[in-house]
């Protein structure tokens, strides 16, 4: 039985430092525009009711922003899409606030803080925002979280013969957690994967497990980003999609394992 997994990339959403959306990021990654490093600016969410909007932290806004971008670029119906959320750390600010209160005398954490503490908070708010009632997953594989999410999504595309929206995201912790997990800034990427080619497909993607060294990025600042943020381990793959060139790409996975990818542009 072959383990090679295949899907088509229908669209991408992206938000990171100096990378405000996918078209801008594609310009930078393809070499058509210079990279200008800037703190990630996460916009407010218009898609949630005001009460829910007030309860969301930046990590949830990051995940929903890139997810909505990918869905909008594909003209897809978010309500009907299964989703795979993958994050190495979830909402670090919320976790910090809870641990501070639990270490204090009164220990009375707020109900909102508590329900936002679940690793699948972004998935829950995504459902509320979009009405998506299909299966939604929430994964963590530490530094391997992007590749683990991609594998999960590709397997689901193959077995369930459905389009799947992958959303991988990580944001920086406040101190003192920041010192032990030094993620410098927020980075999120969403990839809409489909089981068959569509008129708007960007590229065909195949994946298998491998052991070759992961690709690095030619721009040293982007390479630093790739190395420091688990979700940014996606950048070598996204660069090949942006450059619309047929290429083999290796991205980091777990321990000595890598994901060996083949990208074949559709246009």
């Amino acid at each position: 039985m072959s383990a090679v997994l295949t899907a088509w990339v229908e669209s991408v959403g992206l938000l990171g430092p100096g990378l405000p959306d996918w078209p801008a990021a594609a310009q930078v990654l393809s070499g058509a525009a210079p990279y200008e490093a800037r703190r990630t600016a996460i916009p407010p969410l218009a898609c949630l009711p005001p009460a829910e909007r007030r309860r969301t932290g930046k990590v949830v806004r990051l995940a929903l922003t890139v997810g909505l971008e990918a869905v909008a670029r594909a003209g897809a119906n978010a309500a009907a899409l299964p989703a795979v959320f993958s994050s190495s750390g979830g909402d670090g600010e919320n976790c910090h606030e809870i641990c501070q209160v639990l270490a204090s005398a009164d220990r009375q954490i707020s109900p909102t803080r508590f329900h936002n503490s679940v690793h699948n908070a972004a998935s829950g708010y995504w459902g509320i925002a979009t009405g998506a009632t299909a299966a939604s997953n929430a994964l963590c594989a530490y530094d391997a979280s992007f590749a683990a999410g991609l594998l999960e999504a590709l397997v689901q595309v193959r077995i369930d013969e459905t389009a799947v929206l992958l959303i991988a995201y990580d944001a920086d912790y406040p101190e003192p957690m920041r010192s032990v997990r030094p993620i410098p800034d927020a980075f999120g990427v969403a990839v809409l994967l489909t089981p068959v080619a569509r008129p708007g497909s960007l590229a065909r993607l195949t994946a298998d497990l491998g052991a070759a060294p992961a690709d690095v990025l030619p721009d040293p600042r982007l390479e630093t980003l790739r190395a420091q943020v688990p979700a940014a381990r996606s950048l070598p793959l996204l660069r090949r999609i942006a450059r619309t060139e047929r290429a083999a790409v290796v991205i980091d996975y777990l321990g000595r394992q890598r994901l060996q990818l083949e990208v074949s542009p559709c246009h």
């Binding site: 699948n120 509320i128 391997a144 777990l254």
Partner: protein, 397 residues
């Protein structure tokens, strides 16, 4: 879907270590819940604590993973010959051909909670012995179990609150069907911590004493802890009649509220319907249902509506959370083992603690154990964020 065999399984909870202890407690209709004496917690409630978890010592080469959650995981792996069964499978299939998918909701967060009491007074820094990767991070338990068992294939933690370790069965079965791996270690590990005890308390969802699922006077859940594991493989030709199979999985999202289920159980119904379709079963072919049954007024009401809509009101069912407590990210795995024991030994466990069934809940709720030859059983797991998963297990013969 193609059925998979549970070629080994084990569970450790407040009912005891290993399946014999669990079976004896279920047969004796005993609860493992007791007044909360955990850490410095002063909440007036009962919990399902596993005794002696912190006496467990991790092997020297795995010290980087020291935390209560991984101690519980290790204790669980060592019961019922589970670790040996996985090692034997690794010798047969190759350690890189066995994946690890585990559920947890809070991982080793207890260590972080305690470390925050020891922040450097001047700098605010965490103590030098703080372990982010091995203890705090959500992935820690899967990384630990993978290394403890000597495996080298794909691995992930699924952390979707209380559906986590049910959903691992769905992810693993897809990965096996796709040929990504040949077998998978699945299950869940969640351990007591202050975040969940005080968090559920803040939501006013904690029972004053022991939880009483589906009772007319139910007043919330009791938090427990557990480590439960199963080894999933394609069924070979030598399966005995009492071998347990995973027959169907169903997953859905409520798209409704972060901490309350959809009042009509919309997502729960969808998950159960999908699981039936995947198993190619009709509702009448389900012999027993292990409810999610947390004991909160809203969960049990929504679940009862969903079960009545999908399976009707006659199928016998119970929640075993009155015995084990709600083990959160380990609940799906723990209750999968309950289902496996039910199938193997012909036992439908009665829901302990529950005295008077809520007449509003139109389900056939078992207050006492009932022996029966079971062919197919369903297990429900629903979590915060509206994450739902239903599993169907059956006997090979």
């Amino acid at each position: 879907m193609k059925p998979l065999a549970l070629t080994a399984f084990t569970a450790t909870s407040c009912l005891g270590r290993g399946v014999q202890a669990m079976r004896a407690a279920l047969e004796g209709e005993r609860t493992g819940l007791a007044p909360c004496a955990f850490e410095t917690v002063t909440l007036d409630t009962h919990v399902g604590e596993v005794r002696g978890v912190d006496d467990e010592r991790l092997p020297a080469e795995l010290q980087a993973f020291e935390c209560r959650n991984n101690r519980l995981a290790l204790s669980g792996l060592r019961q019922d010959g589970f670790d040996e069964a996985v090692r034997a499978a690794a010798r047969r299939l190759g350690p890189e051909r066995i994946g690890v998918w585990l559920g947890t909701s809070t991982s080793g967060i207890l260590e972080t909670e305690l470390a925050y009491r020891r922040l450097d007074p001047a700098s605010g820094a965490l103590p030098a012995d703080f372990r982010y990767h091995g203890a705090h991070n959500t992935f820690s338990v899967a990384a630990f179990v993978q290394r403890a068992l000597g495996l080298g294939g794909p691995a992930a933690v699924i952390s979707s609150a209380c559906s986590s370790s049910a959903k691992v069965f769905a992810s693993a079965r897809r990965a096996i069907e796709a040929g990504l791996v040949d077998a998978a270690v699945v299950g869940g590990v969640d351990s007591l911590c202050l975040t969940t005890l005080y968090g559920f308390h803040s939501l006013q969802l904690v029972a004053r004493a022991s939880c009483r699922p589906f009772d007319v006077g139910r007043d919330g859940l009791s938090i427990g802890e557990a480590a439960a594991f199963a080894l999933l493989e394609r069924p070979g030709s030598g399966l005995g009649a009492d071998a347990v199979l995973l027959l169907g999985t169903g997953e859905s999202s409520d798209a409704w509220h972060m901490s309350s289920p959809h009042p009509e159980g919309r997502g729960a119904s969808a998950a159960m319907t999908q699981a039936l379709a995947a198993a190619r079963l009709t509702p009448g072919e389900v012999d027993y249902i292990n409810f999610h049954g947390t004991g909160t007024p809203s969960n049990d009401a929504a679940e009862a509506r969903a079960v009545a809509a999908v399976l009707g009101t006659e199928v016998p069912g119970s929640s075993t959370k009155g015995a084990t407590g709600h083990t959160l990210g380990a609940a799906g795995g723990l209750e999968a083992v309950v289902c496996a024991l039910a199938l193997r030994h012909g036992l439908m466990p009665g829901g302990v603690n529950t005295r008077v069934i809520d007449p509003e809940l139109r389900v056939n709720y078992l207050l006492e154990n009932r022996p029966a030859r079971l062919r197919h059983v369903m297990s429900n797991s629903f979590g915060f964020g509206g994450s739902n998963c239903s599993l169907i297990f059956g006997r090979a013969g």
